[in-house]
Symmetry: C3
Amino acid sequence: MTQIGNIEFKGKSYTTLHINVSSNVATVSLDNAPVNALSGKMMKELQQLLKDLSEDSLIKVIVFDSKNADFFIAHVDINILNEKDILEELANEAAEGLNIFQNLGEVLRNQPQITIVKLKGIARGGGAEFVAAADMSFASLEKGKISQCEALMGIIPGGGATQYLSSKMPRGRVLEIILGSDLFDAETAERYGWINRAVKDSEIDKFVSRLAENIASLPEGVMHTLKAVLPPERFTSGFKTEDDGWAKLAFAAKAGDIMSLAMQNGAQTIDGELRIEELLRRLV
Amino acid sequence: MTQIGNIEFKGKSYTTLHINVSSNVATVSLDNAPVNALSGKMMKELQQLLKDLSEDSLIKVIVFDSKNADFFIAHVDINILNEKDILEELANEAAEGLNIFQNLGEVLRNQPQITIVKLKGIARGGGAEFVAAADMSFASLEKGKISQCEALMGIIPGGGATQYLSSKMPRGRVLEIILGSDLFDAETAERYGWINRAVKDSEIDKFVSRLAENIASLPEGVMHTLKAVLPPERFTSGFKTEDDGWAKLAFAAKAGDIMSLAMQNGAQTIDGELRIEELLRRLV
Amino acid sequence: MTQIGNIEFKGKSYTTLHINVSSNVATVSLDNAPVNALSGKMMKELQQLLKDLSEDSLIKVIVFDSKNADFFIAHVDINILNEKDILEELANEAAEGLNIFQNLGEVLRNQPQITIVKLKGIARGGGAEFVAAADMSFASLEKGKISQCEALMGIIPGGGATQYLSSKMPRGRVLEIILGSDLFDAETAERYGWINRAVKDSEIDKFVSRLAENIASLPEGVMHTLKAVLPPERFTSGFKTEDDGWAKLAFAAKAGDIMSLAMQNGAQTIDGELRIEELLRRLV
């Protein structure tokens, strides 16, 4: 699965993403072994790629999947604070009023193409926020799982989840997802409105390819006109409130202690991440 | 099924509607062979009937069904531009800021009675918008199908669907419905919030009759008070944006070409309409 | 099940509530035989208890269940107007712009703790509004039932249901629930977004206990921060409109006649309340 060397695309070099373009559909496969943690580098590469794709009018649809059979995105890399230079670049690129995590979601939400997540493994935390920010999301009925488990790390989601989830489902379900911090199966996620739909694992590749190609084949102007008529909801004050709440907890000693303990106990290893909720609950 | 001659109701003559009143419930059966296309004439008759019913305080509930086993409403009649005189009348009757298709939906949404669609066949395009504009909708689990397939004709929905669907479900599902342009079965439509509920075909007649009669039998004042407390959401700016987007595409050459080709290839025949999505996709 | 004498909690005396505190979770069990009617006394005790719990920072989660196997809350006590002194106290305690029923829901919605309803029997009318006002609600798949059946009594819901339901589901489903006035099973209630989830009766105790304890065990600050970031929606004008509509009907002769007839025909007895919708429909 891992690549020898870097991927080149439109003159830029990528180490965490594979890009394939066919029939006006770009497929972006996330690849950051061992668990696809959302590192600063992956965030930067995603934003770079989305910017370059936004200028390519031949590409109508972007599908995101994963090279890792178990994980779509584990969550934000717990070691992200070590990537100082990249964090500074991300902060400089972030739109006014958004932290770097919210900014990634908003770049995705404002993409001129239709963006689709195909979720065949686990998406947690910042990875679940990426799923929620995409225009559409389809999960493998058997293997797709999703969780906002930040509460177990002593924080609340800080990359848009409080706002994105509130636009998709009643408040009681948002509270349950975030405070319950459980890993949801795809069927329950569909019933809650979290994803578009759960699709049998044996059919999801064909389902998403067909949908992406059908949208990419629509008569000129239809997709862009609809996106203009139905722009993503603006969450200006909600993002501010979310960031205030998140930052207060994220930079407190408690959260740092939990993250350190988590790393010592198996976080960001495949075994640890397959059941990170249990691992974190034992630490509290 | 077809009537010999016209139907008379409250001194007006109808050729596309059958009207039956019983126990304070009016049942309106759509009948415009071969596929129940929503012609200008049917639109005009629906608006006339809704106006006359709005002045009849004995009627509490209006149920809409179809005389056609396969189709509730195929979609707006592709030949509607030929009905010049009727279109002019519809335009004159339309409320400020609404195109004629949006106006039909808004007349329905502002009806003083409770309006219920019983969907036992296919509703597409303007027919699906009629379903979405009704106060409630119940579909046969086995036979009810619904689609906003306008995108395949080179346009976006222009009769309210962008606003109605957005008030019922998360944006990602609206984008999927409109850009995916697939025919949804009743069970999936229920899960998406598009309709109230899918009901077994063997039970739906009884289910809807019982509900309609129960509502019609409520103590005086209850239904009207609730409708006043829960008025339909206003979409003033959304309708404007939708109409702008729709008109730009609808009056471009591309859409006209697709409609002509579609008519040459079986649109508005029973066989063609049973699988119009496939038919249109082959034309692109 | 019934207590000999009163329950004491934090120096106050309760006759309709049992209170148990364990692991930072308070469990409040409703007990007002024979059918858990929501009397003025129960309303007053609930508000007193919620106030005292709001000042106890050790308690993080409040779970509401019932001592009555068949009923969570039957509905507002039909004889409530006889409790003149208590009604006056409730009116004095109500926040500006809220009637006493809306006020109870808003006290619950503004509780600093996470509030969870475990619904193993029937909740109707004001009881269903209590369920909808809680932060989360889980119902027994086999035994949980819920209904806004006020319409059958000649009124509309007046304790918040028009607003709470509208924030959880499309308008068409709200209209169906209130005007159809049917008793919903837990599975349909989940599909409509009325409750968080239906859980097998054999698993619901464990499910709710685990969730409550997990939330109560979260690192300090997480739960309160999230509640501050996601405050309950304000319904100021909606509550006014609801109360106007409700009061107009509730104080008319018709509603009083129905309530009297209902009492003569079995309302507020166990047998009558198990099928109160049928009983009321026969009276109309």
